[in-house]
Assembly symmetry: D3
Homo-oligomer: 116 residues x 6
């Protein structure tokens, strides 16, 4: 069941971030801010940066990070064909060990594109 | 509950592969073919190559890849003693961070060997 | 639901260790012993070594290892502020890819500190 | 001394590729072809794909791969500001462990931009 | 020749940091500041944090990061026996793939301790 | 210049091991012993275990470990064709990020096979 995963993902992420930030020292808070800002449009457009975040998350094999960047990329207007082009780069760089994460991303992508 | 995991694993893998391949560009399809072919008997027998895939999956810490190679190794006739010899190499090379994956592999191995 | 995770974690760990050790060759048994001994007080106190294990587990991104070292650190008397100082080092060294594991650790830490 | 690194890098890469391909089975040859093709313009432009390859190489911490993608990105017209935007994403995702590779990339980038 | 590596290491690091910071956007500059601050004494003493950085660098297998944290740890008064206790944790967690980095660290440590 | 690398590699390895073992606590000494023993013939022949060590070293991208296992595999009688079959598995599992290490291994292999 991946239906509505996007909503549940966002709620769980917010719930846990609150726990972290309730106790986090300044260094952690600042890191969270830097992380947000890294994907804002600058010399490169936000869409390209979101794709960079997606591919980095795939080769480092983090499903939660993949989910986050799939949502952001979709919001930035990335098309199915563009997503798969990025998946291809991640697969070739990272190898077959990336395949389970590619499968995960592909399934979640379908629900994101249907919901659009 | 790990009973029947092998069947469920195969079904889920097929279901997700269909989603990927329905949209995958040629590069991804070719990668999937290369991945299959890498384990076919060549200068090294298939059994050795499956063991190479298993140990690589353990040191890279991917449970889904471990499951896949456990099944293939069992089909190639790898015995419990041979499995544990391979686990030992993976553990020494990869360190204690591999232990949770060793536990996972050990439990799944029992159901594979019982089913034989 | 993370309530009582500590007890369930310990039981599951013991159950799986028994499966491993029932078939493990001498090399694996000796590795398990070395792993235990590495965190015993020596030139460095046990508390420092447990924190080293925790941060290593975070940058290598293993939730099961994080759970194990959270429990040990709590038993060694690590305070919330000390935990978060260690989380901060792990986050800066390992980057945003560590954040899902930081969230996981933060939630589990709350139940550990409440139970104290 | 990083002067002329680009030329030496290309020559060494060609020399070693010849050694590999003289003995490589079909699977390795096909992988090398897939690797080339993954960065060709498709749904995403070549420049974006080269940036994806660069950031993936940085978070996976491979200086040789970074050198290769720096050259390709420069050829695709990536500007200094765009390079640093990509470096920033790699640094935030991958953490301070990426910094030595960021320093390496920054120095090599200067000679590439001067040579343009 | 590892003689005087500490001085050369510091000079090279400064030279390259200047290149990075001459072009770095705000995000990278802020990350560099966060990285410095993460090791300042807080709930945990600076010595413990430097050891956390050292072990994280060893399990992530970055010689440059290891060199940096060796110097900081030595300045914080870490003794040979304490260094080796930390090396032991890194070795057990990260496995034999860490051994080349342990050898590297051990040699550099000798010159640091002699110079003291 | 890779001529005679095997001899220099062995000497450097011995020199550094002496430095480590002069100060190493019991845990590190025991780990070194376990590491040796993991590749001794058991349920699997030594040749297979050496190949497991080689592929694990390639996907974890450690040139020093690759050198060590190349020498051991050659001593166990691994042929050029068998080496390349193992390289192929490592490449497919680990992706293009393994290519620089494949090039390194291929060059060193030539000198090993010539010397035989």
């Amino acid at each position: 069941m991946t239906e509505n995963w996007e909503e549940r993902f966002g709620e769980e992420r917010s719930r846990l971030n609150e726990i972290v930030l309730a106790s986090a020292p300044l260094g952690i808070r600042r890191f969270f801010a830097l992380d947000e800002q890294a994907y804002e449009a600058g010399a490169l457009p936000a869409k390209t940066k979101d794709l960079l975040g997606l591919v980095a998350s795939m080769v480092l094999r983090c499903n939660e990070c993949i989910s986050y960047h799939l949502i952001r990329c979709r919001e930035a207007g990335v098309t199915r064909e563009e997503f798969y082009d990025a998946f291809n780069v991640a697969l070739v760089v990272g190898g077959s060990i990336v395949i389970p994460h590619l499968r995960f991303a592909a399934e979640r992508l379908e629900t994101l594109l249907e919901a659009r």
